[in-house]
């Protein structure tokens, strides 16, 4: 029973990463936009939702005690808004300016989380974030199971929405822009506008993931949103298969499992005083894995399914790898 409760806990965290991965898949997989500030967007969602839904606290502004669902919506609006602003600023320029700017966004947001004590609680973070089904907190299995079901429902909703969009005219235009911008332009599509839309949608989904994660754990601190997170999510999408929404979910669960297992292994094998040092090996492993996959199997485990429209079926057989 305890093991099952832990499995549910593990899967819930993995699925919150799956939501981030789905958001990244809209930006990178479908549109080819390189976001190096994922942790910033996720953290923004977490903090916005936490500020709105926590009970009133004397030491900081915020704490409106609003319902969780409202926090989620506000997180999506904030993430989408930020992504929109970044998109408007950089998407007219060369593609790697977006990478550098998003990298800067994550650094700047990290400073805001750290330094504005009156709003974010500073380095100590924010506690008492309301958790869904908190009435059942005494029973670990029921509580974790219900939260798993809720998170899975969010993943499913995102998945169905994105799959629908993928096969819609909008999704086709997006891929056309990614594959051949000039040709898409010649057909009357506006590449900059499409990119900005995709980037904003992805940012909103990432912020939603941050809010879901924050409400499940009940506590957030700036240390949760380091560049490490960005890096993990990238590894997840690239391993799973960029461009494939099922691959994004699979990659999230798989890489999170590798991460958790190697972490457990390190705490078994190494003495306590060497563990922080050994933990850096975990990052080396994931970094090397990312590079190796980019070199040898850039399409990931589940390659992108080439589709033109759902009426025409799969197109993979026509395309040489």
């Amino acid at each position: 029973m305890e093991l099952l409760a832990y499995a549910a806990f593990f899967l819930t965290i993995a699925l919150t990463y799956a939501i981030i991965c789905l958001g990244l898949n809209v930006q990178w997989g479908q549109t080819g936009l390189f976001n190096v500030g994922i942790a910033g967007f996720v953290g923004l969602g977490a903090y916005v939702s936490a500020a709105l839904t926590t009970p009133d606290a004397a030491e900081r502004i915020g704490g409106f005690d609003l319902p969780i669902a409202l926090g989620w919506l506000a997180a999506m609006a904030a993430g989408g808004g930020l992504a929109l602003a970044v998109g408007l600023l950089t998407l007219r320029m060369r593609s790697d300016y977006l990478a550098i700017t998003t990298f800067g966004i994550a650094v700047a947001l990290q400073l805001v989380f750290q330094n504005t004590e009156s709003l974010t609680g500073g380095a100590f973070g924010m506690a008492f974030i309301p958790r869904p089904f908190s009435g059942l907190q005494g029973e670990a299995f029921a509580f974790n199971g219900l939260n798993l079901a809720l998170t899975a429902a969010v993943v499913l909703a995102c998945y169905l929405l994105l799959e629908h969009l993928l096969r819609s005219p909008w999704g086709r235009a997006l891929r056309a822009v990614r594959e051949d911008e000039v040709a898409a332009q010649a057909l009357g599509k506006n590449p900059v506008l499409l990119r900005i839309q995709a980037f904003a949608l992805g940012g909103a989904i990432m912020a939603l993931a941050g809010a879901v994660q924050a409400h499940f754990i009940g506590f957030i601190a700036p240390g949760n949103y380091l560049p490490m997170m960005t890096f993990q999510v990238w590894a997840m999408l690239i391993v799973g298969g960029s461009g494939n929404n099922r691959g994004a979910i699979l990659g999230a669960v798989l890489v999170w499992a590798i991460w958790a297992l190697s972490g457990a292994l390190i705490s078994e094998v190494f003495p306590a005083d060497q563990q922080a040092r050994a933990a850096s090996l975990q990052i080396v492993i994931i970094g090397v894995m990312l590079c190796v996959i980019l070199l040898w199997r850039p399409q990931g485990i589940l390659p992108e399914v080439r589709s033109v429209s759902r009426h025409l079926g799969r197109r993979n057989k026509d395309i040489k790898p």
Partner: protein, 304 residues
């Protein structure tokens, strides 16, 4: 306003500028934003530290400080070794990663992503080998001497500023006057056309890595000498490096140096107003302003 900020800014700016030159060269010639460049600085510092340790073991007298500086002959000697090893590191990385992706015709953005992965791996490897505890080139303390106008600087700091100036002038002459420099500019304009005209593109790429890695190592040693050596020192400099390179205009060596100095000075002055905890945000603000007002940078060409 405290005039000491000018000295502080020039010193920080020297490190940022030297790092940004390497970044802007790889950016314009290899055509990708290299996220590992910050880690080259950190690796350069640690490799130099290792070589200095070995040298100190061979000849103990090398560690004794040479007046008026805080370090002995061992450090400049070790820096040659550090530069050679950092160059070997980047050439090795190019051979097993970037070169392979280039040969496959991968998109620039895939190479950027690979550099992002490699940067995480390199940085964590440093942390694993040397632990997160800061290291120092020298334990000697130096007293800042007054320079007039209320400014003070240690001999080490003045040496860093002087050395940066010499390096930038030499490099500028190399790129503007020599055949190699002409080949580099040709490749940054158009690699395939340069290849057709008989420029050895592979050679140019190698020279670019050598210059970038050498300067990164020197900048890392400077930062290590004046502040401290940490595995994350390069990562923390990455945003200032990018901001300086973009502010100066991608591909421009004087631009990158000037950009670095501007960022360094802006940080030093802004820290007095908003507090040191916001230091890292200054280069981000400058980056956003440049992208909004003059995306091609100070010395960049339109449409870049």
């Amino acid at each position: 306003m405290n005039p000491q900020a000018i000295i502080d800014g020039l010193i920080a700016g020297s490190t940022i500028g030297l790092g940004a030159i390497g970044l802007t060269l790889t950016y314009s010639i290899l055509r990708f934003a290299n996220f590992t460049h910050g880690d080259f600085l950190a690796w350069g510092a640690y490799l130099t530290l290792t070589v200095a340790g070995v040298l100190g073991g061979l000849a103990a007298g090398l560690g004794a400080p040479v007046y008026p500086f805080s370090f002995g002959w061992g450090l400049p000697l070790a820096m040659f070794g550090g530069v050679a090893l950092t160059v070997a590191l980047t050439l090795g990385l190019d051979r097993i990663l970037f070169g392979k992706l280039r040969a496959r015709g991968a998109d620039a953005i895939i190479i950027v992503m690979a550099s992002f992965g490699a940067s995480m791996a390199l940085r964590s490897l440093l942390e694993f080998i040397f632990t997160a505890k800061p290291a120092y080139f020298t334990k000697a303390l130096q007293i800042a001497k007054p320079l007039g106008l209320g400014m003070r600087a240690t001999p080490d700091q003045l040496l860093v500023i002087g050395m940066t100036a010499v390096l930038v002038v030499v490099l500028h002459l190399l790129v503007t006057r020599s055949a190699t420099g002409r080949a580099m500019r040709a490749v940054s304009e158009n690699p395939s056309l340069a290849g057709v005209y008989g420029v050895n593109v592979e050679n140019v790429i190698r020279v670019t890595w050598i210059i970038g890695a050498g300067l990164a190592c020197i900048a890392g040693v400077m930062a290590g000498l004046l502040v401290q050596i940490r595995p994350y020192m390069g990562f923390d400099l990455l945003l200032p490096l990018f901001s300086a390179a973009i502010l100066g205009g991608i591909g421009s060596i004087p631009g990158a140096m000037l950009g670095g100095l501007i960022i360094g000075l802006a940080e030093a002055f802004a820290v007095q107003i908003v507090g040191a905890e916001w230091r890292a945000a200054i280069s981000f603000v400058i980056l956003v302003l440049v992208l909004m007002l003059r995306p091609q940078g100070l010395f960049g060409q339109k449409g870049a």
